[in-house]
Amino acid sequence: MTDTTANPPARSFWRDIDLRAVAPFVALVLLLVLGTFANDNFLTFNNLLNVVTRSAYIAIIAIGATFVICAGGLDLSVGSMVAFVASLAIMFMNSGAVAGPVAMIATAMLVMVLIGIACGLANGLITTVGRIEPFIATLGMMGIYRGLTTWLSQGGAITLRNADVSAAYRPVYFGDLFGIPYPVYFIFVTAAIAAFVLYRTSFGRHVIAVGSNEDVARYSGISVERVRTMTYVIQGLCVAIACLIYIPRLSSTTATTGTMWELQAITAVVVGGTALRGGVGRIWGTICGAFILEIVGNIMLLSNFVSEYLLGAIQGAIIIIAMLVQRSLVRKS
């Protein structure tokens, strides 16, 4: 495909795009305002840092999901994949295959990335070469990764046994640089690279082309299968990155690690302005969507006026209201 950075044909097109991209951030600001009413401690540096830090897993996974969804696919297996990749990495570190805690962690990180890519490749090949609907293919893989994790852990927990390794790894989640915890850097660096790939490379353009119209993309000479497969590989890589910062937090995984994370990631992507039907991808919107999800939960917990039984209902309502705000902004333009 040729480069198409040229000026757009119509001006209204750009205005439309801009507002759609801005909408999630407007919703985020509205939530921040709402939060200050809920609790005095909401708008403190520490609380916001807590929230941003712990949204790192969903945010990073959702970056991968942005690619998959943008190309017209779907990956339901990511939550189970987190559990599977992290469990294997912990078992690897427990095996003591490499001497020295730092060398061990570095090797384990490499192992995680390789397993993540392999898992993503498996998902991709099953949907493209196997020609199975992504919903069913990744639903099946979700069961496989979850089942394997349960089997590895015998239903219990897999815990990092070596205290030295655990102590050396802990700062990756809990440590900070200039007062900002490392996971926050992970989010923004991953997002920056992803945004570059999606918006500034020919591969990124192919992803969007495949998602908006598969047939046109195919006639334009794009290898649709290869592009789709690559998006699943990127998803697997993102899951691995999330695992890099997941393990140091609790130093263990259980059979229930990462349950429902796939739905949270997809919600973050959609709240961020990416179309579920494909063809549009917004990396920064996705990050914003992940923050919105985490902040909604945080506000609910900090406020005193919501019954604990109603949390789910209020969370659902806020997400729908956030989407409606976005839509109305877009329509007004």
Binding site: N41, N50, Q154, G155, G156, F174, L250, T259, L301, Y309
Partner: protein, 315 residues
């Protein structure tokens, strides 16, 4: 006195000669949920441990353990066990009500049925001969009483499990335990019996309340997340955390005298073993065991922790 002694001797003789009497061979079928989280993993571990032990002790006894992930497959498993020819069934249902008919079917054939932990709506002798369960209200009450006794003026935050009846029973028990003391509950939120969710809830509690004395999170898995959140916030006002169930990690902390985990409240997955032992006693020794057994929610302290520590268990 002579008769019982003679009887015992006869039983002992019969037990040792079990192999010789092929027609006396007895089979116990054990149907339990598949290990899908910490507690059920413990159930599977203890069921297999006791099965092995019973077969070693009684050469004439065969114990078959089957795990099932959901009620439908467990109903099939029960049917399969029955077809294989069992003399007794020990069952911990994944979900009791959908399995009532399958259990009654076995019972109606005159087999001995021991039901563990999860009771159907009608839990009487038409369904089972023996019922053994942990004590959910007591799990809350023992924790509440301990907190009221150790720190009478404590301000406590509570992390609940999931909105289901046993969670409510534990909450009610806890309220009963702290009744009449100055212990004040600041907040109750759901942590879904999940480590990551408990971490988040605890982080938000720490933001919301400048002073927390005690955390009651009723579950050992959630305690893992709670402890990390406290450590990260570097808060020193929290005196201790009370969890529950009896996982090896938390019992180990109690045994080692960890100041943050001074006690643990027992809801032991090993109760499936109690049911198996009683069933074997009924089959082989013919002692009366019919009835309902509610195990105490024992308070695990530094002194008795070693009795409840299973380092090989996955839970």
């Amino acid at each position: 006195m002579r008769k019982p002694i003679l009887g015992l001797a006869a039983i002992a003789l019969a037990a040792t000669m079990g192999l010789a009497h092929a027609q006396d061979k007895k089979t116990i079928g054990v149907s339990i949920p598949a290990a899908d989280h910490g507690w059920t993993a413990g159930v599977v571990y203890h069921a297999e441990r006791i099965a092995k032990k019973l077969m070693e002790e009684h050469p004439g006894l065969n114990v078959v353990v089957k795990t099932s992930p959901d009620p439908a497959s467990q109903a099939n498993a029960v049917q399969d066990l029955e077809t294989q020819g069992i003399d007794a069934l020990v069952i911990l249902p994944t979900d009791p009500d959908p399995l009532v008919n399958a259990i009654k079917e076995v019972k109606s054939k005159g087999k001995f049925v021991a039901l563990v932990d999860r009771a159907p709506s009608t839990n009487d002798d038409s369904v089972r001969d023996l019922y053994i369960a942990g004590n959910n209200p007591a799990l809350g009450e023992v924790a509440g009483k301990y907190i009221a006794k150790t720190t009478p003026d404590a301000e406590v935050v509570v992390i609940r499990g999931l909105p289901i009846p046993i969670d409510q029973q534990r909450q009610d028990g806890f309220d009963k335990g702290i009744a009449g003391s100055n212990v004040k509950v600041l907040d109750r939120q759901f942590g879904n019996w999940n480590r990551d969710d408990a971490f988040k809830v605890m982080q938000d509690y720490l933001t919301k309340y400048p002073k927390i004395d005690v955390v009651w999170c009723q579950d050992d898995d959630m305690a893992v997340g709670v402890l990390e959140a406290i450590q990260q916030a570097k808060r020193t006002d929290i005196q201790y955390v009370v969890a529950g169930a009896g996982s090896k990690d938390m019992v180990k902390k109690v045994m080692d005298g960890d100041k943050m985990i001074p006690v643990d409240v027992l809801y032991p997955p090993a109760m499936v073993g109690t049911a198996m032992e009683l069933t074997a006693a009924q089959l082989i020794d013919q002692v009366p065991v019919h009835g309902t057994y509610i195990l105490d929610a024992t308070l695990v302290t530094k002194d008795n922790a070693k009795d409840f520590y299973f380092p090989d268990s996955p839970f």
